[in-house]
Amino acid sequence: MAGHARGRWRPSRNICIGAASVGTVLLLWQTMSSLGVVPTVLLPGPVTLARQAVVLAGQGGAVPFQLEHDITLTMVRLLGGFACAVALAVPLGVISALWPPAGKLLQPVFAVLMAVPAIAIVPILMLITGIGNATDVTVVIFTAFVPIAVYVHEGVKLVDRRYYWTARSFGTRPVDVFRHILLPGIAVPLIAGLRMGMGYAWRSLIATESLTALSGGLGYSIFQAAQFFDTRTIYLYMVVIALLGFGIEALFRHAERRTAIRWGVIASGGSQ
């Protein structure tokens, strides 16, 4: 882009200002809370939240070790469902790309699935799979499946056929072609698809938990806390959810660094 006048790369100054702004916000927040400018019922200060975290992590919550319990439940549902989605979506994506009839058949199905926000399905799903883990996990599978399959499909299609030519010219066995050409060839779009699927699944899971979870989970607990006007728990859980989401994103960024950036490959396929 011509004439980039702004956004110059000045890391140290940016970090300083960034840290300063976060610090200022925290400070203001705590001050307002301590001074009672805003009633703590409505907006507890950060220190209060930290204390609440300790309480909930121990025996003080509705359930012993509530905080750990909720985090574990949510993550188990997320990762379990996500694993199922990957196990379904990757083979389907590969097959639909390598075998055109399957691809043509699945294309409209994917388009329809993508158009429906998962949360809209939940009431119907609740009639079929009831309240509880089954619904949550199904929602995760449903939301994660399509982006992964689509990205894998596109990724397989974009693998330059001359990679296959090169491999075959060395007398490579088909299983080795799959392992050494196809899989690394789709690694970058796969990660992009996983990232997208995880984003959708995360959001949908929290929403679904608020409606369905019988026995806990972050989404469930935060809305439960709302019922009891337990503001401390509400805000604390908001922070926890944001941090977890941030952590997940960081994992994907790391994966991206070790693949796309190291190999010089962009997610839309092809190398530079």
């Binding site: 043509k104 119907i124 809305f223 709302a226």
Partner: protein, 275 residues
């Protein structure tokens, strides 16, 4: 860059050319119709009789009734949902654009906002609903605010990027004409940022759409497609639930595949600004 080799086979083109060509071009809707037909047969002939799976005809009937029937429930619900969506989106757009443009022209502001934005991104919009219900009670405001909180980030980032990428030379031209700061903003920065903003608008609208439906389902307040779906559950009116889902999907598709491409065509493409 691949050499220009046509992907060909050594076989002849099919003789039943016309029919095959038609099928191939319209395979997507044809497959959907075929699947619907199979669904109808499965339910109609009693092969699937789960109470939670209605027949397509029952769903179609609900859709019809919902719009043209006595209470126009679906029509009202759609209007309510769209109303909240537009309101929330508009507010988010104004606020986020202003902030983004400001941050785009001033690196310090951008740096200050950056960590706050970064921490906000992984927060699902619906997680703000408990807090909002505490502050705003029960009402439309909660839903609209959820939409705002969900949509503002892509809009902000788009405005930021757009403001940053204004070509320096265009600014020089403005300055050489003695343009004031305000008119520079109006006539150069804002239109220039539009190029970046249209894709951001699209993403933001996607978030907003998901947010409004989720908020409606969770808060079940007033009218709205999400509310209707959830309410229908109480009465086991499964057909209406499915009808609602289909409406949501159709509306989402319309926004994504019709509204925005049209918008892009009338603005960016006409002005030759397609990236």
């Amino acid at each position: 860059m691949q050499p220009a080799h046509a992907r060909g086979t050594a076989c002849e083109p099919p003789r039943r050319g016309r029919l095959a060509g038609f099928v191939r071009r319209h395979s997507n809707p044809l497959i959907l119709i075929a699947l619907l037909a199979i669904w109808q047969m499965l339910v109609g002939f009693g092969l699937v009789h789960n109470p939670a799976v209605p027949s397509p005809t029952a769903i179609a009937h609900s859709l019809w009734k919902g719009f043209l029937g006595p209470h126009h429930i679906l029509a009202i619900a759609t209007a309510a949902t769209l109303g909240r969506l537009i309101l929330g989106f508009a507010i988010a757009l104004l606020a986020a654009s202003a902030l983004g443009l400001l941050a785009g022209r001033n690196d310090d502001i951008a740096a200050a906002l950056n960590p706050l934005v970064a921490l906000w991104i992984p927060l699902p919009g619906i997680v703000t609903i408990p807090v909002l219900s505490l502050w705003l009670g029960v009402g439309q405001a909660v839903i609209v605010c959820t939409v705002i909180f969900s949509a503002w980030i892509p809009l902000y980032l788009g405005a930021l990027q757009g403001a940053r990428s204004v070509a320096a030379r265009q600014l020089w031209v403005a300055r050489s004409y003695g343009a004031t700061r305000w008119s520079t903003v109006c006539h150069i920065i804002v239109p220039s940022a539009l190029v970046q903003m249209l894709p951001a608008l699209r993403v933001g609208m996607g978030y907003a759409w998901r947010a409004v439906i989720a908020a409606e389902i969770i808060t079940q307040h007033g009218e709205g497609l999400g509310v209707t779906i959830f309410a229908a559950r109480q009465f086991f009116d499964v057909a209406t639930m499915y009808a609602g889902v289909i409406l949501i999907a159709l509306l989402g598709l319309t926004i994504e595949k019709i509204l925005f491409p049209q918008l892009e065509r009338r603005t960016l493409k006409r002005w030759g600004l397609v990236v």
